[in-house]
Symmetry: C2
Subunit: 428 residues, 2 copies
Amino acid sequence: MSKSASEEAEFFFKEIPGGVTAAYGFRAGAISCGIKNPTATRLDLALVVSDLPTATEACFTTNKVKAAPVRLSQQHVKVGDVRAIVANSGNANACTGPQGIADAKATTKAVAEELGVKMRQVMVCSTGIIGMPMPMERILPRVSELNLALNADGSDQAAQAIMTSDTKAKSYAIEVECEGATFRIGGIAKGAGMICPNMATMLCFITTDAKVEPTELKRATQAAVEQSFNRITIDGDTSTNDTVIVMSNGASEAPPIKSRSSCTHIFRAALREVMRELAKMMVRDGERVTKFVEIRVQGARTYQDAKKIAEAVGKSMLVKCSWHGGDPNWGRVIHAVGYSGARIREELIDIYFGGLLATKNGMASNTPVKELEKVTQQPAFTVTIDLNLGSANYHIFTTDLSEEYVDFNAAEYSAAIHATRQTGLSLA
Amino acid sequence: MSKSASEEAEFFFKEIPGGVTAAYGFRAGAISCGIKNPTATRLDLALVVSDLPTATEACFTTNKVKAAPVRLSQQHVKVGDVRAIVANSGNANACTGPQGIADAKATTKAVAEELGVKMRQVMVCSTGIIGMPMPMERILPRVSELNLALNADGSDQAAQAIMTSDTKAKSYAIEVECEGATFRIGGIAKGAGMICPNMATMLCFITTDAKVEPTELKRATQAAVEQSFNRITIDGDTSTNDTVIVMSNGASEAPPIKSRSSCTHIFRAALREVMRELAKMMVRDGERVTKFVEIRVQGARTYQDAKKIAEAVGKSMLVKCSWHGGDPNWGRVIHAVGYSGARIREELIDIYFGGLLATKNGMASNTPVKELEKVTQQPAFTVTIDLNLGSANYHIFTTDLSEEYVDFNAAEYSAAIHATRQTGLSLA
């Protein structure tokens, strides 16, 4: 039993296996197409299907440079009754111009024909390198095989197929009781990148067999994203491909979820719980991350002030470096607080590492640095910044910055281009 | 002869030696007080003095957490006729509360008494670790010795004494001709830190023997800072201690510089030139930096849009990592352009590395990646982003992000605290 981290109502949910196929009426599967590298055998094309009509809601990147699949899926989700999500890793299909749009359309068309649904009932997502053409000749001939790979236990394969620099497949599901009935909600995700502030693409596909009315699904999805993925990505720093999709097919016997029905609050908390667990998995699996840090800002005058501070501290390279070294360097934290743009009074600021006071009234506390180090040398800890000015709070999850991260990110494009050339392809 | 990088008028100036003492009537010097470490012998306390009355202007950090010397100097500069700047490295005197203010005052008082001027005619600056008390017992008894160290060739000593993680002392001066007379303008600076986005303290002290009227000095200083240090620091990410001071003592025979006098434009260009050269030295000497990159944004709808893009690209960790690896990863650049908040049209964006087109109309150009790599593998290069939407431009200077930077910044605080303990001091 895991505890809901809701800031509103608290519920307890039963974790169950099955990820994106934990809910009734959904199937998933994946195949290996060699999208990034024709000779590789890893899974790289995933399909998630609902056998019943759905209400579907999605949130997309706010980046003004949007990948072709994002542009297409933004149109498709408006039509409603989405039946399938097709997603590939190895190529982002971003900055690929009209050909990229044509390629995304061709993929949805092939999947729709295979499944016997309309092209507009298929969402498409891509993640991988930017600016390279999609190897459609390695994808389209394989769509029948992808259909055959679908099964009610296929969540793990789909989760693996959307991984890029992730080291672990990300999956989470819960069973929820309400009004004497149960429904299920679960999903898969991929994250990695630094998560914050510059995130590589994140994808998250969630399914539920609750019957959720579209207006309520939209409201619950937006609220849950704000309480989960938006707490790890830092406003505006979204990738060209970020996508969260929630499909509801009503296969359970639980009563319908409407704006004020008896199960609404528990559904909202359950959706938030699933997204938060997946979001935390992304942070923990961030590229070459060695520390998982929660930044809590409290006592701010306004929510916006609290948010500005949490994001400034979470983005600061000098702060992240100090965490990497296990260094309780509160001076760097207060420095970032100072330039965040939020209203502060330096002489009122208290900073805690774990439960230990590091900074009192804007100055070094009496806590021995050896004690503070015991906190910051842990793989996970909390930094609390109390402004003592008001009652607004905000929190985010973030990571350290490692030498390995820099090394890992130093030559992606050249390596990809050279790999492509070795295989005889050229750039568009 | 170096060329003025002015975006307005262009002038050519003669570079001369002497730094902050190149102008007539200024002296400088430094001593070693062991401020960071009592057993170390490096210079760490500097003094710059004008033997004549001055007009003095200063710009300070916009960080809301301000070091004690910043708070005090902000008051002193308002009085006018500043005669001296006393500056130390090894301790920032930031987050030190009322005791920090008292310590900064005590330093200015001791220097004023020694020089026979008023306390309010002395500016004070500090740079180093945040949150530790100033070791006044190692500073105050040495002020007479500091006075004795002053001489008309003392610029290099002063430049060395304000260094922290800088690897080189930073000094630049020029001689300027106007209306048949000459005046001199020169300065010293310290930078380091990552410069952008999280800069360690920058200090810059500039002196001129031109006779500049206070209103004009203020205007010229603000404009020059905007065209130099603000192009490397990224708005808002200033440290707790950043300070730029410009002193004018009129010791030359050049005609007075007023708002519309004949030499006004040349003085403005000369001040900008000195600040830009010092700013570039800071970037090149950034902590563990291996690349010096100019980001030019052109064709934006507005100046603010151009600025947002330059800063988003310059701050992006993933972009900086790619530069470190010499990787012409234009996908990461356009990704940062997309989340900058500026108005763009993806399909109009062109990106150049050096003079080579990497991205045409938002897609990969036909330039072979081997050619692009020849640019990005150089120690210095330019990235030009043309939005093709309007006529507004902006540019900044920035750096890569190296593994060594992370390593270097991983344990500053613990190390400093432990060093302090070894010497028998404790925290406040």
